[in-house]
Symmetry: C2
Subunit: 286 residues, 2 copies
C-alpha cells in the first residue's frame, strides 16, 4: 500500500486528465486481472430511450436474490463512462465497482446517464430514478432483489444520487453511499452551472436539504487528497447531519487516496474502503 500512497500523495489535490491518467496506470494491472476474473453478466442494457440510458450488470456467484449496489460514475457532469468495454486503460474504470460488488455477493449495476451541457438539471437524477424503476421490474431476472437497492455515486455521480433523494425521496432504496460529492455547502463553480444553470437557480436545485434531512441510512466518504472544496462539502454535510440528527452518519475518510483513486481502486488489494462499503450494504439490506 505504501508505494501507492506515495504516488498518490505526489499527485497533489488538483483534478484533471493527467492526474486521472496517472491514477489509471497505478491500478491497471490489478484491475485488468479483476476484469479477466469477473465477466459482465449483461452489457449495454437499455433502461431508457437515450443512448446514455445504458447499464451493465455484474452478477455474483450463488443462487437466490442478492442485494443490488448501483454505481453512478463521476466526471464533473460533463464526462465519464460506465466502462466495461474496449481494451486498454478505458476498459475497467467504473466497471471495477460492479465487479467488486459481484465479488462481495451483490448484484453490481454500473450505469451511464445523460451528460451536461446538453442535458441539464435534473437529468442525472432523473436517470438514477429511471434505473431504480427499471430495477424494480427487471432486477430479479439477473439475481437482484428489487427490494434491496443501495445507490452509490462518486463526485458528480454522488450529486446525482443526492439529487435522487431530492427528486424521489427514499422509499425505493435502502441506503445511499456518497463518495466525494457536492451537496451545496460551497459556492457553485462555472462547470457546475453547465448542469445546474444560472447561479440564482442553485438554492432551489442543489440537493443539500434532501441529504441533510433524509432518514435513509447514509454513508459518506472523502479522500485525504480530495480537493479542499470536496473536503469542505464532506465536513459541511457531516456537521449538518450531526446538528440535525444528533449523530454523524456512517463515514470514512480514506487516507492515501485522492478524488479519482477513491472509486478507481475498488476491487484491488487495498480493501479498506470496499470492506466499509460492503459491510454497510450488508447491514442496510439485511
Amino acid at each position: 500500500m505504501k508505494p501507492v500512497r506515495q504516488a498518490i500523495a505526489a499527485m497533489g489535490t488538483d483534478l484533471g486528465p493527467e492526474v486521472l491518467a496517472q491514477c489509471r496506470v497505478l491500478f491497471d494491472a490489478e484491475q485488468s486481472a479483476l476484469l479477466a476474473q469477473v465477466p459482465v453478466t449483461a452489457a449495454y442494457v437499455a433502461y431508457g430511450p437515450h443512448e446514455r440510458h445504458r447499464l451493465d450488470i455484474y452478477r455474483p456467484q450463488g443462487d437466490g436474490l442478492a442485494p443490488i449496489l448501483v454505481f453512478v460514475h463521476g466526471g464533473g457532469f460533463l464526462k465519464g463512462d460506465k466502462g466495461g468495454h474496449g481494451g486498454g486503460t478505458d476498459a475497467w474504470p467504473n466497471a471495477n465497482v460492479g465487479r467488486m460488488a459481484a465479488e462481495a455477493g451483490f448484484v453490481g449495476v454500473v450505469i451511464n446517464y445523460r451528460l451536461a451541457p446538453d442535458n441539464v438539471w435534473p437529468a442525472g437524477s432523473e436517470d438514477v430514478a429511471a434505473v431504480v424503476g427499471w430495477l424494480k421490474v427487471h432486477a430479479a431476472q439477473y439475481g437482484g432483489d428489487p427490494q434491496r437497492i443501495v445507490l452509490m455515486g462518486t463526485s458528480a455521480g454522488s450529486v446525482h444520487v443526492a439529487g435522487y433523494l431530492k427528486l424521489a425521496g427514499d422509499r425505493d432504496i435502502r441506503a445511499a453511499i456518497l463518495l466525494s460529492g457536492l451537496y451545496g455547502y460551497t459556492p457553485l463553480d462555472a462547470r457546475d452551472m453547465l448542469y445546474y444553470g444560472d447561479a440564482a437557480l442553485y438554492p432551489d436545485r442543489m440537493p443539500l436539504e434532501a441529504v441533510a434531512a433524509t432518514q435513509l441510512p447514509l454513508m459518506l466518504a472523502c479522500a485525504e487528497f480530495d480537493p479542499p472544496r470536496f473536503q469542505a462539502e464532506f465536513l459541511g454535510l457531516m456537521q449538518h447531519r450531526l446538528a440535525r440528527h444528533g449523530a454523524m452518519p456512517r463515514a470514512y475518510i480514506h487516507s492515501g487516496h485522492n478524488h479519482y483513486s477513491m472509486a478507481m481502486h475498488l476491487g484491488t488489494a487495498d480493501r479498506r474502503l470496499s470492506q466499509e462499503i460492503c459491510a454497510f450494504v450488508r447491514e442496510t439490506t439485511a
Copy 2:
C-alpha cells in the same frame, strides 16, 4: 466483526461505568491473550516525583532503536490508569495499546499522569512533557529512538496531548494522534471545570489554537458511536484545520466503535484503526 458492532451499537452513545464495563467484557478474551503474549518490559518506571508519575514500557522484538508511541489514557481528567498489573478485567485496558505498539515494531509507552481535581490545569500536559523529557534521556536503554517520539491520547488523554502542543510546542515529537478529544469547539461542562478551573479561564487554557495551528503531522479519530459533543469537537477541528491549512489532517472515523472501545479494542482482530495508526507512525518517523 459484526457481533461486536451490534453489541456496541446497542450500548448507544452515553458514557459511564456500566458501558465501560460492557466494553471490557467484549474484548476481554482477545486482550487477555495479547497480555499473555506480549510481556511488559519495564513496569512502574518513575518519570517524576508524584505517585502518578509512572510509565510502563513495551519493547518490540529486534535490535536497533525503534520509533516510540506514547499512549495517554482517558478518564475524564479524574480517573483512569495505564493498566498492566493485577488480574481480571483491570489488567489489560490501556496497557493493550502499548502491546499493540510493540507488536507493530514500536516501543510502546503507556503512562499514568496526575488527576483532577487535586491536580488542575496544566498538570496533565506537564506530565506528558515530563514523559517526553524522560524519554529523551532514557528511551535508548529500552530500544526507543528519542528522536522519533509520537504522542497518542484518547479522550482526556487526547486533551493532554493537545495541551502538550500548547505548552511545549512541537519540537521534541514527530507527530500526534488524537482519539476522541476535546479541544475547545464546544462549551465546557462541569467535569471539565474540575481540571480547567472556572469557565472564564477556559479560553486561555483550552488547546484549540495549538492544535489548529501546529505544523506537526496530526491524525484525528472519532467513533461512529462517540457522544455528540466528541463528534462536534472532531468536526470542529477538522473544519478549522481545512480552513487554515487548506487540507484536512489525516483522520479516521471508526465505524462500529464507541468512545471507550476505540482505544480498548486496539490489539484485537479488528485491525482497521491500528493499521491506520501504525502506518501514520511509520510514515512520520521514517
